[in-house]
């Protein structure tokens, strides 16, 4: 049973296109996240949702828009893709308790050409 699943695993697209990455968790967690891992391997938080409500919104271009249809799903839509958007995007979930560890998906490698 995959706890946090992301699709697709690989995404290759051209500059200017719009794309979406989907994430689903079956752990019953209240909170979901999007993290970006750049070429230097730093993982940086982008967004966090709790029960469909946005609670963390870091400095991210407004071309990135998260959408949470229910607490088990958090999708990431990216408009007008740029070369610098190439990275690995990780979805994660956790209970709302701030001490709770994050459970990560296996990532989506986005390549913009």
């Amino acid at each position: 049973d995959t706890a946090v699943s992301q699709t697709p695993k690989y995404l290759v697209t051209q500059m200017g296109n719009d794309k979406s990455i989907k994430c689903e968790q079956n752990l019953g967690h209240d909170t979901m996240y999007w993290y970006k891992q750049d070429s230097k391997k730093f993982l940086k938080i982008m967004f966090s949702y709790n029960n469909k409500e946005l609670i963390i919104n870091e400095t991210v271009p407004n071309r990135f828009s998260p959408k949470s249809p229910d607490k088990a799903h958090l999708n990431l839509h990216i408009n007008s893709l740029e070369l610098g958007d190439s990275a690995v995007y990780f979805c994660a979930s956790s209970p709302l308790d701030r001490d709770s560890p994050l459970h990560f998906g296996n990532g989506t490698r986005l390549t913009v050409t």
Partner: protein, 112 residues
């Protein structure tokens, strides 16, 4: 600004050769320090949470310790299956929600 620096960037060990990974942090009011393991092509997998200086936690060949400025991940008699990238992250007390600031990681290779 909260910062996490991990060293070394990469570490090669022979099987059975014990060593330590370092995580230095700067945070205004530490709530928790986390260690994760990341295998190639996978997401990070949780290992430990440490909350206060002097705290230690163990899991198999791994032991994590915490001081007011840094954390160490000690690996005793490592095996090839311990090869992975080890990530350290901090959570500040002031932050709402479960926001973690990660270091760049240490790539560990254990050769048999």
């Amino acid at each position: 600004e909260d910062q996490v620096t991990q060293s070394p960037e990469a570490l090669r060990l022979q099987e059975g050769e014990s060593s330590s990974l370092n995580c230095s942090y700067t945070v205004s009011g530490l709530r928790g320090l986390f260690w994760y393991r990341q295998d190639p092509g996978k997401g990070p997998e949780f290992l430990f949470t440490l909350y206060s200086a002097g705290e230690e936690k163990e899991k198999e060949r791994l032991k994590a310790t915490l001081t007011k400025k840094e954390s160490f991940l000690h690996i005793t008699a490592p095996k090839p299956e311990d090869s992975a990238t080890y990530l350290c992250a901090v959570q500040a007390r002031r932050e709402y929600g479960n926001k973690l600031v990660f270091g760049a990681g240490t790539i560990l290779r254990v050769k048999s």
